[in-house]
Amino acid sequence: MTAWLLVAPVLLPVLVAALSFALSGSRITQQVLGVSVLTLTLTDAVVLLVLAQRDGPQAASMGGWPAPLGIALVADRLSALLLTVSLAVALAVLVFAIGQGNADFGESSPVAFHPAYLLLTAGVGMAFLAGDLFNLFVAFEMMLTASYVLLSLGVGSGRIRAGMTYTITSLTSSLLFLTAIALCYAATGTVNMADLGLRMTQAPDGVAATLSVLLLVVFGIKAAMVPLHFWLPDSYPTAPTPITAIFAALLTKVGVYAMVRTQTLIFPRDDVWLLLTIVAVLTLLVGVLGAIAQDDLNRLLSFVLVSHIGFMLFGLALFDEAGLTGTVLYTAHHIVVQAGLFLVSGIVVRLSGTASLASLTHRAPPPPVVAGLFMLPALALAGIPPTSGFVAKFVLLQAGGERSGWPVTVLIAAALLTSLLTLYAMTRVWRAVFSAGPDRPAPRREAGNVLMLAATVGIVGLGVAIAVGAGLLGEISEAAARDLVDPDGYREAVLGGGDG
Amino acid sequence: MSGVREVVGVVLMLGGALFSLLAGVGMLRFADTVSRLHAASKAQTLGLLLVLVGAAVHEGGPSAPPLLLIGVFMLVTAPVMGHVVARIAYRTDAVARERLTVDQLGDRLSRQDAAEPPPR
């Protein structure tokens, strides 16, 4: 049964995407199919999370072939948690997109949007569950190809340019990923990640270390870590809001996830921590400086996204249980928060007709409810307590506080500074968008489409739930981090046969 | 018997390979596109056919049918390729006209009735 639970997040969306593509005449059918399959998948993910939290890593080999022979899908606490959160966000964003209708898409969107979106979620699901490096590559490709399509569905010339930047950069990273897989296979004779972890220890230091950083670079591109981030702020903001939201929420996180997974499972080495620390500091600061420099709301949010990848790298750089707990928490929280912010931005842009802060200053502010919907995730992003962002950041700082040495000190200082500057960036948005006054028009009454609002409320509510349920989430994250630091349970679940 | 077969096969293959090489020389040396096309679409095909027959003879048995099939298909597709490319080459002035001893097609085209529909 585990096998079915594990494969459902991949298989069901693929099946429905195919149906949706074949039946693309009827938009209602597509919408109903999409929402129901994502709901079903989300339920499945929750069950997986419960099982993983209760019994440890859940693994199964597809086709019943034992692990290195067949492809293993694995849901440990980390992947099940991220899967659950991601699917919840994906569902909400789909509802938002349905509410938004085709306004932002081109002529052919009804045909293309739903299948591409479902394949994207299937890819994300497979990426989180993959226990096999090449399967992870395929998952990335599903996800990314769908994202290329979604990004270029629009009509404008700016959009196609942005699509090219994004596509070509991602493609380069994919090809490097493939190269890295080839090299890993050449060195070890396996692509199963658990198996790779065992065999990589027998490879000479130089080979293992080089492959380790090569994969780090590959995933760093997907995760938009500095200096491999340039593509992101140039491309994400040009997409229609739901697309931007889902990209921002999921794609970079899959990159981070892959980084965490491979570094802990395959290359549990300590020669990359300094590199990761430097990169984390750069990511934090470069991203947030970029955000401060922007005038476009969505670009600003994109730079903030880059910056906060640095927090996730923070914990990975520490490479201990506490740090990884922080990374897990931060990743889960950030998925929700960043999506929420982009959705609110979508509502704002739709109501005001511009994303430029300078122009928004002179437009009527959205109604208070939208302001509230912005406020919560914005505070969470800045790590103001008692939001989810605070919890995650606190855990990271605490983990950093346990360490000594100037690199970690610099890292902590950068993290604190980034928090403050994020807050500054958010207040800039607030000042331009949400404050009314005698020198500007009164707030609007209408808040846009009901579905769009409901989806946004749902995501923001999820963020609040993460904060409220920080205890449970903390337990899961900590256990997940323990699994990461000591992956024997994972290996046993995968190579010890699974449940066939 | 099988020794003879092998010898014949190898000789055929050698001949085919030689033809291919000479065709390559032709492709390199001939002056214009259409002439080079001769070497490419013809001599090469012949070389391939010889190699195929040689291999079929050499191997015998179950390996032979697909090899012959390759030959048959090549015999159909290579000339078509040659014709299409040659036609386009002439129509796009890729023929070195000054090297032609006879150009009856050019003569025909320069006559007034070139474009007129033929007698029914």
């Binding site: - | 020389v25 040396r29 001939f30 001769h38 013809k42 012949l46 099939l69 014709h83 032609l100 033929p118």
Partner: protein, 199 residues
């Protein structure tokens, strides 16, 4: 080129209707089905009953799904005469000799003259009348090295052959004769040639 307004086509045959006529005469399918079944068997390399049945099924399926409508203008499609079948090896033999000889000639040109090799374009008048015959003549002409069919004038039944090497008018006549020889042997295999009048 649908987009070109200057292009006027012959009236397009009503494809579904003609397909209906095909359905009334399924034996039209027989030759292609046979040839495809043979191909199937050759591909598998076995001529057992299951293979042949499977091949027939695949071939018939292919024809049923993607079979082309009848060719239209010329109604008949007749099998070659028995004498023609007998003549086939002779034709092949002739072609093979021709092939080898002309190959040697071209190869020698390549090595010896190279850029100095002269060529020419010869107009060849055909006796063949049907599309299939003309095409076959062209194809066979094309197989031999040294002769490339540049243009086919279907209506006037002319081939324009680029010949290499071609040093003068005498060579041109020789080329014409060579094509004619092939054509004669080909036509001899089919009795349709003589009966066919101008379309």
């Amino acid at each position: 080129m649908r987009a070109d307004p200057g292009d006027v086509h012959e009236p397009r045959p009503d494809t579904p209707a003609s397909r209906g006529s095909v359905r009334r005469r399924p034996w039209r399918y027989l030759p292609p089905v046979l040839w495809l079944t043979l191909l199937w068997a050759v591909l598998w390399g076995t001529f057992t009953v299951p293979t042949l049945i499977a091949g027939a099924v695949v071939a018939a399926g292919t024809q049923a799904a993607f079979g082309l409508p009848p060719r239209g203008a010329e109604r008949r499609h007749r099998l070659p005469r028995l004498r023609g079948v007998v003549q086939l090896p002779a034709l092949i033999g002739y072609l093979l000799v021709d092939l080898v000889v002309s190959s040697v000639v071209v190869a020698r040109e390549a090595v010896r003259s190279g850029p100095r090799t002269r060529s020419g374009i010869v107009e060849v008048e055909l006796r063949a009348r049907s599309d299939a015959q003309i095409a076959t003549v062209a194809l066979l002409t094309l197989v031999a090295p040294g002769s490339l069919v540049l243009e086919i004038d279907r209506e006037r039944r002319l081939l324009y052959v680029h010949a290499l090497p071609l040093r003068g008018a005498a060579d041109a006549e020789g080329r014409r004769a060579a094509v004619a020889r092939i054509e004669r042997r080909l036509l001899a295999m089919s009795r349709t040639a003589k009966k066919e009048g101008p379309a």
